[in-house]
Amino acid sequence: MNEFLEQFLIECRELVEQATGDLLALEQTPDDRERLDSAFRAFHTLKGAAGIVEFPAMGRLLHAAEDVLSSVRAGDHPVTVDFISHCLNSLDQVVQWLDAMEATGDAPADADAAADRLIARFTAGAVDLAGPVQPEGPPSWVAPLVGAFPDAKAARTAVCYRPDAACFFRGEDPLALVARIPGLLALRLRPAAAWPSLEDFDPFACNLVIEGLWSEGANGLADRLRPVSDQVQIHALQRLDWALSARARAILQAQVALVRQSSDEGFAGRLCSAARVAATVLSHAGLPGDGLAEALARSLDDSDPEPLARALTPLLEGTADSASDHDTDADPAGPSTLDATARALRVDVEKIDAIIKLTGELTVVKNAVGYAARLALDGEDIKVLAQTLKDQHALLERLTMELQRSVVAIRVLPLRHVFQRFSRLVREMTASLGKSARLIVGGENTEADKAVVEALFEPLLHVVRNALDHGVETPEARASAGKPQTAVLRISGFREGERVIVEVADDGGGIDPVVIRRVAAERGVMTAETLAGVSDDDVLELIFAPGFSTATTVTDLSGRGVGMDAVRSTIERLGGRVLVRSRKGEGTTIRFVLPFTVMMTRVMIVEAAGQVFGVPFEAIVETLQMSRDDISTIGAAEAFVLRSRTVPLISLARSLGLPDAPDRPPLVKAVVTAVGGQMSALEVDGFGERLDVMLKPMDGLLAGMDGVAGTTLLGDGRVLIVLDLQELLQ
C-alpha cells in the first residue's frame, strides 16, 4: 500500500471516530452546537479526503450526509434518531470501504450501489437540497478557475454563470446581479465565443461567461442566483479542488524544469515526454492544451526548449503556493480537533526535551569514564579508581533508567482510543438485545503502552458483549428484581503502580456459582469431585477455562465459540491477568490487570543445560529447592506436592530440546510458575539474578521459534533468551 493511501486510511478512521462520538453525543444533547459543528467538520473533511483519493462514491455519500448536517446546523431540520442513525450508517459504510481499501488497495467495485442506497435514505425523509447545487465531483470549469486564483483560499463556492445571448433583452444585467452577492473573492470574465471585430460586434447579445469564487456557502449563493438558476452552475469547493490544482501545478513545474534541463542527451525524447505529461495534466484539470503540440513541434524544429517551456509557464501563474502549503492549510470549514493518532505517534515536545536533557547527562558520564580510564593508565590507586567507577556506574544506572522510562513514555496512548468505540457499540448491542443499559466510561485519559491499548479492543469487546448478553437482565426481569430498568455498564481504567487496570462492571444478574458448577461438570471441564473441593470464588475462574460457555441460547452477540478463554489468553500475552468478581443478583466485574508497558520486562535468570535463560518475573510464583525423593513419577511425567497441590515438574532443558545434565543432582531446583491459572514448575540447574530488560522481539529466521518471547544482551555480551512460558508449557 502506498504511503498516500495509508495516510488516507489513518485520517479517515480518526475522522469516523470523531464523527461517531459527536453524533452519539448529539443524540443525548441535540442542541450541543459544538458537537454538531465538530461532526459537520468531520464529514466535510472525510468528503475532501474521498476526493483526494478519487473515490467518488464515498464523496457522494458524505456530501449527502453533509447537506443534511448543514441544514441541521442552519436550524432547518431537527436532530432526530433517524437522522443520527442515517449518519452512523453512512460512517459504517465508510469504515467497510476503508477496510476493503486496506485489504485490496482499491475502492470496492460495488461502492456506487451502496452509496446510492444510503443517499436515497437521506433524501427520502430529509430536507430536499436538490436546487442547483451540484452533488457530483467538480465540473471541468472548476479546476482552471481555482487554479487562476491561488490566493482565494477562503473561497467556499465556485460559480459559473453563462448568461444566454438574449438575456439583455429580458432586462437582465448579469454582472449587476453578481456584484450584489456578498463575499465575492475573485471574478473572471471570458467570451463564450471568440470576440468578433468591433464592426461586427453586437452589443445587445451577451457573449460572456462569468466565473467567480465566493466565501459564501453554496446554498446561500443558490438562493441569490435563483432568478437565473438555469444559466448557473454552482460548485461547493472542497480542499480537493485546491489540492488538485496545486498538485497539477507541481507536476507542470517539474515538466518545465525537465524541458529546460541543460543536457543534449535525449533532448527530443525528453521534450515529447514532458509535453505528453503536461497535456495529460491539463486535460485532467479541464484546461485546454491546444498550444502544446505546436510549441513542441517548434521546440523540436529549432532544437530550442524555450517555445515549449514558454507554453507551459503561463499555466503556472501564481505558483508561489506549493502542494505542501495546501496540505497544512486549515480546512475551510475549520480545523480538525483530533489530538492523537493511533498509528503515527504524536509526541509531546516536553517528552522529547526530557530525552535530550538525558542525552546531555549521559555525555557527561561518558567523559567521566574516559577520565577514569586515564587515571587507570597513570597507575592511580586501585581503590580510588574502583570508587570512581562505582560512582559513575551508579550515575549511569540512574540515567539509563530515566532514559528507558522517557522512551517508554513516548509510546503511551490514552485508553480513550479503545473506550470511545464502545459508546456506539453498546448502543447497538442493547438495541439488538432489547435491553436497556447506560454506559459510563471513566478514566479514559489513563495512559498505557500503545501496544497494550491497541490490543485491548478485542478482549474488551468480548467482555462487554458478555456483560450485556448474559449479565444484564431484560427490563422486565430487572423491574421484578426491584432494580432500575436501565442497567449501568461501567468501563473504567486507572493506574496502579506499574500496572494499568481496566474494568468492565455491570449491575446485572451476576454469575451463579451453582450454574457454573453444573455446566463445568456437564462439559467435563472438571470432575465433580474436584469441583466439590473448589470454593465459590474459585469456581468463577472456570468461565476462563477452554470450552466453557454458560449461555443457554446462542445469540447474535456472544456465544460464537470464542469464550472467555480467548480473552484470558490475549490479556496474558500482553503480560497481564484477568480477574473476575461476581455476586449473584448484584452484578459482575471483570478486571484486566495490565503492564503499563510491554517493552520493559523484568526477568529472572535461570540456568539449564549450561545456558542461561530469562523467565518473565510476572509468571513466577516462587523458587524452591527440594530433594529428588519428593518427586513422584507419573508415567513419563514428574510431579510434586506443593502445599497440598500437585504441581507438574517439567525439565526446562528437555522442553527446549536440550539434553538433560547426565547426572541429575539430588537437590532439585525449580521455578514455580502460574500461567493461565495453571501451576507448573520448571526444573533448572541454577537461579541467577533479576534484571529489567528491554525485549527485542525475535525476527528473521528465529521469528517462528516457539517458546521464546525475545532476546536481550547481558552485561558480559552474552545473548539472553527470554522464554514465553505460555507457549512453552502448552
Binding site: R188, F201, F204, L208
Partner: protein, 80 residues
C-alpha cells in the same frame, strides 16, 4: 447620454451606463480604435458596456468609485 467624447478623443463614461450606452460605446470605439476610455466618473455599468470594453480593450484612464467596477472588473480590463 453618459458616453461623451472629449476634444482629445478620450471617451468618457459618466454616471450610470446603461444597455443603450453599450451600443454608443461600441460604435465610437470602432470609429476611433485608438481612443482611450476614462471611466473615473462611472458609477455603474451594464454588463453590455463591460462586454464592449473587454472586446475592444481600449486604454483605460482613472478608476471608478464603485468597488465592484474598480476592483473586480478593472483588473480584468486592465489599464491598457
Amino acid at each position: 447620454m453618459t458616453v461623451t467624447t472629449a476634444e482629445d478623443a478620450t471617451i468618457r463614461l459618466e454616471g450610470v451606463c446603461t444597455l443603450e450606452d453599450a451600443e454608443t460605446l461600441a460604435r465610437r470605439l470602432s470609429e476611433t480604435p485608438e481612443a482611450s476610455v476614462d471611466w473615473s466618473d462611472c458609477e455603474q455599468a451594464h454588463t453590455a458596456v463591460i462586454q464592449v470594453l473587454l472586446a475592444a480593450r481600449p486604454q483605460m484612464i482613472g478608476a471608478p468609485r464603485d468597488n465592484f467596477l474598480r476592483e473586480q472588473v478593472g483588473r480584468l480590463i486592465g489599464p491598457g
